[in-house]
């Protein structure tokens, strides 16, 4: 275990506060949902820190629920609200995600755990399958939520950056969205590294992801936002993130 999850937790919670502050000032479903997604991100990395020090069944379940299942989907839902502004589609999808998240919570809380198999010297991410018994539905939901979240968050940021590049407007938002897309992809690729046996790269990817998305968010949201409001065909704010 390294110190990286400590840094990831600090960066992610600072980022969460920044997004909730902006939501408090400006409102907007996308900011609220990104704030919730970031809170899950931070809880996931905080759980990694705690699990590196001691084992606790509840913390392991929090780690799986937030870090592995919900983070990407809630962040991606924020992007959906940013990009789909007409009608109730985004609202309906949000309620659908809330229902699925509730189901995920019930599944994870009711999952059997084998604490005796836990080795505190090894990362939770490389041994959780031997400790937390996941049903087929839990695994299916995990994969689907991550596919949905990664596609919407990364895809949305790439699409936004492309629009700004094509119209040659708001360079800061174009570069901000590129950083957000790269940062959001980082933890998603970390999951691939994990499967390939490089567990430490998962922690590094979470940290890099948090840093890049935070910088991208700051770039995208700085400056005169009223100017962007004059461009109805462009996203008027930028999606902050995307882990899985």
């Amino acid at each position: 275990m390294t110190f990286i999850p400590y840094l990831s937790t600090l960066v992610t919670f600072a980022f969460t506060i920044a997004v909730f502050n902006r939501y408090r000032q400006r409102g907007g479903w996308h900011l609220l949902l990104w704030g919730i997604g970031l809170l899950f991100y931070g809880l996931g990395t905080l759980s990694e820190v705690i699990l590196s020090l001691t084992f606790n069944v509840f913390i392991l379940k929090v780690w799986y629920l937030t870090g592995a299942m919900l983070t990407a989907a809630w962040l991606g839902m924020g992007t959906v609200h940013l990009l789909i502004r007409k009608g109730n589609t985004a609202q309906i999808m949000t309620w659908g995600l809330a229902a699925v998240s509730l189901l995920a919570l019930i599944l994870v809380l009711s999952a059997p755990v084998n604490p005796a198999a836990y080795d505190v010297t090894r990362p939770a991410s490389v041994q959780y399958k031997d400790i937390l018994t996941r049903s087929g539905l839990t695994i299916l939901l995990t994969v689907l939520l991550n596919i949905y979240g990664t596609l919407t968050l990364v895809g949305g940021a790439i699409y936004s950056a492309f629009l700004f590049w094509r119209k040659k407007v708001l360079a800061n938002r174009m570069f901000g969205n590129i950083l957000i897309a790269a940062g959001a992809l980082s933890p998603a690729m970390g999951g691939t590294f994990l499967r390939a046996g490089f567990a430490d790269l998962l922690y590094l990817s979470e940290f890099i992801g948090a840093i890049l998305m935070y910088i991208g968010f700051v770039m995208s949201t700085s400056g005169k936002t009223e100017e962007a409001a004059n461009y109805p065909s462009s996203p008027v704010a930028s999606p902050p993130l995307n882990p899985s």
């Binding site: 695994i139 994969v143 596609l151 590049w165 897309a181 691939t192 499967r195 400056g223 100017e227």
Partner: protein, 47 residues
């Protein structure tokens, strides 16, 4: 950081490199999606 006005005049770097970067990000996204899908089907280790 300040917004660089509504319109910006792209440098050569921006004009050429940004599309390449966006394409690379898109390919990376597709790769992650394929691997995740394969893991769901059991053709890639673990989900």
């Amino acid at each position: 950081m300040k917004d660089q006005s509504k319109r910006f005049k792209p440098s050569v770097w921006t004009e050429r490199f940004v599309p390449v970067l966006l394409t690379a990000l898109l390919l990376a996204l597709l790769t992650v999606m394929v691997i995740t899908g394969m893991s769901l089907l059991g053709a890639w280790p673990g989900a």
